[in-house]
Symmetry: C2
Subunit: 203 residues, 2 copies
């Protein structure tokens, strides 16, 4: 198999961090998103949505969507479990993965894509008003997360999971989106520090 | 356990359709979203994001996020499998569930929430330009889906899955969002007809 990778963009990174946590090595095919290679023929033929990452299996089967690719590897190699254990544990990981993606990573990405001048060709049309509306949405969620993290070590419980990976890439993505983590969110800052200190964060 | 339900809104409906497909009965607590009951003390104490549905277990544990609630029931009662079988099958269901949610249900919901006058108190501030931008996004995805559905019966393969449930609620939601299914998308129309004909669609 091979993984078409998109460098620093949040979704390709989610899969690389996940694989690093699992200790799984997959051959990467670098795709230069800065040069718009993800909109080229090679990629579109594999993913008509022109998004990365894309996993191609040896028989040519294509898997897209970062979380779906991660789940495939979770099924192939269940340990360490990054989607939770037990019915309730799995549901709680799904709940926090979704909350972090939909209420945090997504608004951060919208602020970046609809405001940053470098995104003009990527997000057509940019709606700057929509970008601005998303900044307080991201910060509101981070305040909620801070209260949650006062009660436990990681996003979905006391064990590291894919929800934390989504949190890590979103926190890192705040910088290009020009949103600052409020310094009073001490639990979020502790969590962020712990995530950045894991070897997988370098993936 | 009990399920705090939100009537006609797409996410509460996703869980009800899922439960109907599984043949599982859960006591419902109706929450009148029209009267803004989901923003009341009772709900906020269970879900600070003020969203429905919310599942409360007998020990008081709370599960939010429709797909997380569905996964909980999938784990408790695996048959019929609505999240797929085999590593690849599960990943493909996740891929299409996500694609249908993020590229179809989400833009349809944005068009509704940012344009419809009835949503003025719900979506603050409404950004009508953003709502309009989402209509062609939803239709572009539906055209892609039509090509996919020329090759198979359901969204993620030849078996019904949670991806189809997301498709059903999104297709139904096009009406209040004032987006019309183009009549040339015959595969989508065939699929929609089949989904609406299942007894679970009445849930």
């Amino acid at each position: 198999m091979k993984l078409f990778d998109g460098g620093r963009a949040p979704n390709p990174r989610r899969v690389r961090v996940f694989l690093a946590e699992k200790g799984i090595s997959v051959p990467l095919v670098p795709v230069d998103m800065g040069a718009m290679e993800h909109r080229g023929k090679d990629l579109i033929s594999r993913n008509p949505l022109a998004r990365l990452p894309v996993l191609e299996l040896d028989d040519g089967t294509i898997l897209c969507e970062s979380v779906a690719i991660c789940r495939y590897f979770e099924e192939l190699q269940p340990e360490p479990a990054l989607f939770g254990n037990s019915a309730l544990g799995k549901a709680q990981v799904e709940m926090w993965q979704r909350r972090l993606e939909l209420n945090f990573l997504f608004p951060v990405a919208q602020a970046f894509r609809h405001i940053h001048p470098a995104m003009k060709e990527w997000e057509v049309p940019q709606v700057p008003e929509w970008g601005e509306v998303n900044k307080p949405k991201a910060l509101d969620f981070l305040a909620l997360m801070d209260a949650e993290l006062a009660q436990r070590e990681f996003a979905a419980g006391d064990g590291f999971s894919i929800a934390d990976i989504t949190g890590l890439v979103a926190l890192d993505f705040m910088k290009p989106a020009r949103i600052t983590i409020p310094e009073e969110l001490t639990n979020v800052l502790r969590w962020y520090g712990a995530l950045k200190a894991r070897p997988s964060a370098a993936a």
